[in-house]
Amino acid sequence: MRDYQSQCRVLTEEDIDALEIGSGILGTGGGGNPYIGKLRARQAIREGHELKILPIEALEDDARIVALGGIGAPLVSFERLKEGREGVRCLRALEERLGFKADAIGCEEIGGQNSMEPLITAAFAGLPVVDGDGMGRAFPEMQMTTYAIYGHNSTPSVMCDPHGNAVCFEHAITEKWHETMARACVIAQGGASVLASAPMSGAFFKAHAIPHSYTQAIGLGQAVLDARRAHEDPIKAICEREGGKHVFSGKINDLKRHFERGFNVGVASIEGLDDCRGSVGEITIQNEFLIFRRDGEMQACVPDLVVVLDLDSGLPITTEVLRYGQRVAVLALPCHELLRTQQALDVIGPAAFGFPELVYRPLAETA
């Protein structure tokens, strides 16, 4: 194991509070409830564990990074809470299977609860988490990481549930196959497990991970907290920080949701308020908020971020706590450039989510 300790930032409980908000915003409604993850992270700190972030630049090219995260349905993860050491069991089983020791933990998905899972597992294992991730947001499927898009083979991998079951996915011929098999398995395991993927090299991670995700998410959360304290508009603060747009304000007037193929899918309709009065907004959900339409016309779609916030507080609302009558603001934030290449759009563009008729126009270019 390398000595990365001296280069790490040790997170405080205040950082975790900010990360809860920041990763909630970047979660675009999905990725699981960060509150539960925050409590677990806080519990780990109070038990004397250190939650450490390693600057991505400090990685040596031959370091070995194991990325991990929760997999399943958010609806399950905040009802059937985890046993707690699923991630550690994944890591140990993977290390044993491949005969190596991880130098650091990686984050698959900065959005939602999956920002917390690597920190908790790493703390239990005495390792740091690299400041970066594979999505810069949340996505519903595993092949949708920049790791997978830019060539990492994520098998062998290990998936663990609260019961003590551990499954090793020895080999998947494509990343999509890995996702398909893992999805079938997570349903058998009760809908909320942890999966650790085959290690990446430091060189690969530095080239293809979305950099500085933890610093960004903590900073974003801090900006919301600061704006609230100063009675400034947190929505404006978010848009300014991320180069995004406030595209709609309204009240949820219908919500269709169902559990399908292991996902929460659905549609939320929003009746316009304030300067959106008379308009109808509609958000398509597949674990995350994927597409936002105003009066039938698309305003934002994946891979850009469709974010739903409480209209007044600016705090993020996840798909599972959306309710009839809630007053919400819809924001569109541009995604990282690593998600905008053709290679990436083939995997995470609108067509990949079953909307081949939609043409993705990057927010970053229309702004």
Binding site: I36, L39, E79, R80, H163, H258, D312, G325, Q326
Partner: protein, 518 residues
């Protein structure tokens, strides 16, 4: 015109109003008593006399109470509870009450039990119910004299069997033990539902005594009209429901006072501060209705997932105790509560309270000002400054824009409020002191449906429409005016494991009480 009697039973004061249609005929304020009952009797006799109406003419009585919220906020009158969770090996990472303030955990005894059981999302058992462990827990409950139990099973909102079986086993071994099931109180979201069930269980003996006192006070006064208690969303529930589910009244106080404040001032955009005897509740009015909390609400430091107004409470009221000197002042959170008329200095008592400061500072005229003439002016200034600071912080927390909207001060303790809070003007409506009784009197009637529908051979829209019709019929037959009905809650939770694509629909409509009720 309907004659309505609205009563608000707070920690310090019991208020009563009589409304004829939209007109406030009379409002009175009297002290809450230890037995609750005589306070209600005093208030209602006084208001009947002041309004000059005969008791037989009252059509309906609505009671709002902050009794149960106060018990949690003040950590008083709570029973010890066995918090039993069925879910191992899942859920082990976060025990029950993990996000509660330490002192509240201590009050309810910190009896946390995790045992094998619970369901997966698809109806499989996570583990078979650990009956031996439950029997061992039953023994411990008896041995420790724990008063009540709250049972929370993973996925009980979609299958309540295991919670019910666990209750039966517990009650078999602890005869007469009150047991609250989480599925009766909340929705999906284990920690919040479990917390609500535990708080509910800790309040059961208090709610028993309280509801009993309400009923007796009314019947002894010769009031034969039906009585309702207001719940969180500003609607009414029958007495027996309150007895079993006191937590459903948690936010009714703020809801009532905010709706009352809007009714009395006609102002629709404002921040409302309701200063009672024990606490101050702060919330904001938008379009004349309390702004609803977006996700979860804090009650006494505990997250719950009820639909509630977004209200923030601080431990400051007219009965709040002041200790220390000008340089080292401590205001609250303890309050003399309903003993204000005996314990405050202005009333000849021995305890320095915020009311004494207000009188000494010339902000109010109650009791005997001579009795506080000796208080050190430096102490008065320090206390005033600290009170103003506490109020400003609470108002600022509820303020969502820099717009200079007014602050409406209501409640008996609003004598503590300065004329301006920060840069905002403070309004005090006529009858400000009894705003929550007014809010209770204008409380709405609801109709509710919470049932599992099979979607086979029909559509979700059709089921929702049926549910809405059924809920509306229920509301109208309970006395609501059909033309005023609106849907305030509409939720469907798909139950993937049941055949026929089943979904659980929860729908609630509310409307104003009509002339032709019950």
């Amino acid at each position: 015109m309907v004659l309505r009697l609205g009563i608000d039973v707070g920690g310090t004061n019991t208020d009563a109003v009589i409304l004829r249609g939209r007109e406030v005929l009379a409002g009175v304020k009297s002290a809450t008593t230890e037995d609750v009952m005589s306070g209600i009797s005093n208030a209602l006799e006084a208001v009947l006399e002041k309004a000059g109406v005969a008791r037989e003419a009252i059509d309906v009585t609505m009671i709002g109470t902050t009794h149960f919220t106060n018990a949690v906020v003040e950590r008083k009158g709570l029973d010890q509870v066995a918090a039993i969770r069925l879910g191992l090996p899942a859920t082990a990472c976060l025990p029950p009450m993990v996000d509660w303030p330490e002192d509240l955990v201590e009050m309810v005894g910190g009896h946390r039990y995790l045992l094998r059981g619970g369901y997966e999302f698809d109806g499989r058992e996570i583990a078979a119910l650990d009956e031996d462990e439950l029997i061992r827990i039953a023994g411990e409950i008896t041995e420790k004299g724990i008063k009540a139990a709250a049972i929370s099973s993973v996925f009980s909102p979609v299958n309540r069997d295991m919670e019910e079986r666990a209750r039966d086993i517990l009650q078999e071994h602890c005869p007469g033990l009150p047991v609250v099931l989480s599925c009766e109180i909340g929705r999906l979201g284990l920690l919040e539902r479990e917390s609500a069930a535990i708080m509910n269980a800790s309040l059961l003996s208090l709610s028993d005594r309280t509801v009993e006192a309400f009923g007796r006070a009314l019947s002894e006064a010769g009031l034969t009209c039906p009585f309702y208690v207001t719940q969180n969303d500003g609607t009414l529930m029958a007495a027996d429901m309150v007895r079993r589910f006191p937590v459903l009244t948690f936010a009714s106080g703020p809801t009532n006072s905010m709706r009352g404040a809007a009714f009395l001032t006609g102002v629709k955009e404002a921040i409302v501060i309701d200063i009672g005897g024990t606490t101050t509740d702060v919330g904001s009015l938008h379009h004349g209705f309390p702004r609803q909390a977006a996700t979860v609400v804090d009650v006494g430091g505990v997250r719950t997932n009820f639909r509630m107004p977004d209200v923030f409470s601080i431990g400051l009221g007219g009965g709040t105790m002041i200790t220390g000197d000008a340089d080292n002042l401590q205001i609250g959170p303890k309050s003399v509560g309903y003993r204000l008329p005996q314990e405050a200095l202005v009333f000849g008592g021995k305890t320095l309270t915020t009311t004494d400061i207000a009188v000494r500072a010339g902000m109010a005229e109650v009791g005997d000002a001579a009795k506080v003439a000796e208080i050190d002016p430096a102490l008065v200034e320090a206390a005033k400054a600290q009170i103003a600071e506490m109020l400003e912080m609470a108002v600022e927390r509820s303020r969502v824009s820099p717009d200079p909207i007014p602050v409406i001060a209501v409640g008996g303790g609003s004598i503590l409020a300065p004329d301006r809070i920060g840069d905002l003007e403070v309004l005090r409506p006529e009858n400000f002191a009894v705003a929550n009784a007014v809010g209770a009197a204008i409380a709405q009637i609801s109709g509710e449906v919470d049932r599992i529908y099979a979607l086979e051979g029909t559509t979700r829209e059709e089921c929702l429409a049926n549910a809405e019709r059924e809920a509306s019929d229920a509301a109208v037959s309970a006395g609501a005016k059909p033309e005023t009905l609106i849907v305030i809650e509409r939720e469907d939770v798909p139950l993937a494991y049941l055949p026929g694509n089943a979904t659980r629909i929860h729908l609630k409509v509310v409307g104003e009480m009509g002339e032709n009720h019950a």
